[in-house]
Symmetry: C2
Amino acid sequence: MDNNLQDMDQILETSEEKIFSLLEEKKYFRCRDELLKFNEVDIAEILTDVMEEYDMQRAVILFRTLPKDISVEVFSNLDVDDQVEIINIITDPEIRYIIDELDFDDKIDVLEELPANLVDKILERTPKNERHQINTFLMYKDYSAGSLMTPDYINLRKNMTRQEALDHIRDVGMDSETIYTMYVLDSGRKLVGVCSLRSLVLADENTRISDIMREDVIYAHVDDDQEETSELFKKYGFIALPVVDNERRLVGIITFDDILDVIEEENTEDMERMGGVIDNDDKDYLDTPVLGHVKARLPWLFLLMCSYLITGGMIARFEDQLSAVIALVSYMPMLMGTGGNSGTQSSTVIITGMATGALEFSDLPKVIWKEFRIGIIIGICVSLMNYFRIVIFENNSSLVALTVCCSMTLIVVIAKMVGGVLPMIAKKLGIDPALIAGPLMASITDMVALGTYFTMARFFLHI
Amino acid sequence: MDNNLQDMDQILETSEEKIFSLLEEKKYFRCRDELLKFNEVDIAEILTDVMEEYDMQRAVILFRTLPKDISVEVFSNLDVDDQVEIINIITDPEIRYIIDELDFDDKIDVLEELPANLVDKILERTPKNERHQINTFLMYKDYSAGSLMTPDYINLRKNMTRQEALDHIRDVGMDSETIYTMYVLDSGRKLVGVCSLRSLVLADENTRISDIMREDVIYAHVDDDQEETSELFKKYGFIALPVVDNERRLVGIITFDDILDVIEEENTEDMERMGGVIDNDDKDYLDTPVLGHVKARLPWLFLLMCSYLITGGMIARFEDQLSAVIALVSYMPMLMGTGGNSGTQSSTVIITGMATGALEFSDLPKVIWKEFRIGIIIGICVSLMNYFRIVIFENNSSLVALTVCCSMTLIVVIAKMVGGVLPMIAKKLGIDPALIAGPLMASITDMVALGTYFTMARFFLHI
């Protein structure tokens, strides 16, 4: 960690200690003054710590001392679980104020988690057209572009003048991110162009929207997967992306800060799949009960157990030969391990290559040829090193050494090629390649390793 | 893939075919018209394909037909290698135009890759103060906040009125992202506040900057690591982040689109490290020569070889006992594999937990206790299943089964705890935890597995 971030962490920590000791003395208003020195994101973090270290009641008292506008911002930065707990404690008018003031997308997130009777009570008091909108948004599939979007965008007409547009913005003026790109709709609400606040501010007095708007709009569809949507953001570097329905009518926009969360989620998912863990409902490690963790991990371990039935069976059938040359056993972990690692290396490189768009399925022959050559070179290097070790330091027969080394070269070459090919085929078939690169790769290469090893042993040692 | 993205890909592909056939007929201007239907990001992609399928010359001819303002945008979206190749072909005035018009941060990226004599030639014609700035920026360390920033920001003074500020913006009016957050500096260029274009546009006529600016500015330091900087973006959801020097003077800003690239880079790096691959200079898979790939992969395999010396040695010392009960050998892959997978699962979950900020070093005792319980449950489930398999289906003695199953439970528990603890300690020591979670975890659990297995065998089978 470097100076600035560390500084900020330290300031936060000292302030938190101060707040905690003020809380002990129940000096809530001095606590509040201390809190208000921070950004809303940090205040939310401190409140979460208060909930953990003390109790919910005290956190809610503190939350209530905050100025109303700030309390909404802080609320929207809390975890959904904590939001629901707060809502269960505060009064109805307070709930209504917070729900009213929340950004639309945050509102939807909170409503999704609340018990149905509470949602009904909130919706009762909501104006009819907003209630309709909320109901529509609650129905978009999880992980779809629709579930990420907010309807709080600014729409313009082609024939508006610069001044008319600026006045319109000032009338509806919304959230900071959602104001910077404005969407031009025709009379049927179809998306016909985009216009940035920048070009509007920089334009001459008499400019019309049609003069400065871009017509080649990049957009997502409500049903698009969130991962594809985040690819669009990465590719074009947008601040916001419009989302349209089947008739190309604008239904909402997605802003880049929500995409940052999606990117983080997708990364976590990839890493977890590679590590052989089933996605954990986005709950934090400590919040997930032990059985939840077991549920996320046991299936893979069971599945892989089947692969060990096969490797175990291979060894059992070869038992007599192995007991004849028991020295062969001691090289098994090395051959299986190196095979697994070689395969994982290849699939990791291929998966990251596909993720950044540098590799496509049509590159498959090139990948095979490249992995073949990489495998040959690495295989020979590793084998040579082992040959001398086995013959010189471990005093084993050169025939054993030959068996181990020829197997090693072959295993590395096969593992590299399998590791390169499998993720590409998986992606082509619509399976997440990260599911392949993890434990599954190790199981496959285990079998390859043993098969090769025993074949070589028969050949060289005539057993 | 869903409809919209697929649609766009298809449109791109058909257009590309059309462009290619027009290129064959050397109809460059009709090519250009076809190209201009797309976003600059897509035009850059098509040009890259032209370079790959045809030759550089033809791509450059096509590039030159583009309108000047668009050609600069397209240029900034090309890979650095391709940029350098283009620069080597086009004329000096063209180079100067492009370099002049590029955003400052893109300019720095290109200049870093050009041969020194070309850089000198370009800098010769650059105004003195910009030359000075370029030289300063060229010196920031790679992967530091300084290396990501651009000096093209808008700075205001506290006592400016709304109108003065808007006029100032219109005078200097820059890039779309850099205009939305403006920075308030004092007379010593120290950063005293931020102000969004939104609040300026929405403010009343007579507002002064000091009325609408926020003073609790979150900023990065020029020497901060890019990963920490991207954490700030994720945490606060900014469009741009100011970067200051040791005296808290504003030296530049980082915009969110550059951070999207950083996040992608960091993810790739994490995945590669977990997969046992050394970072590959950010070059694409196909562009890296075979020996480059070997260099990225061989070190890890060599290093891990040492761990196999240890496991191999353990087996060699136990050889006599193993040949007495050769059935024990067939369960070795299962025990080692399950140990490795269990450990990797835990470390994956811990690493992603730490990355999202949900886990800190102070949670270590909680993690140990949780992993212990998870390990017990999973260990017992897996062992029970194996006990029946070994006794009933494989007809091995119940003592062998007992040996395997007690080992299995212990191995899973130890692996889970090691897998949970190691990444946290690594992070505390400043080592990237992803380096631990991959092949290294498998090697450690291999040793744990064999050690446990042989001890249990001695105990139950008295060998």
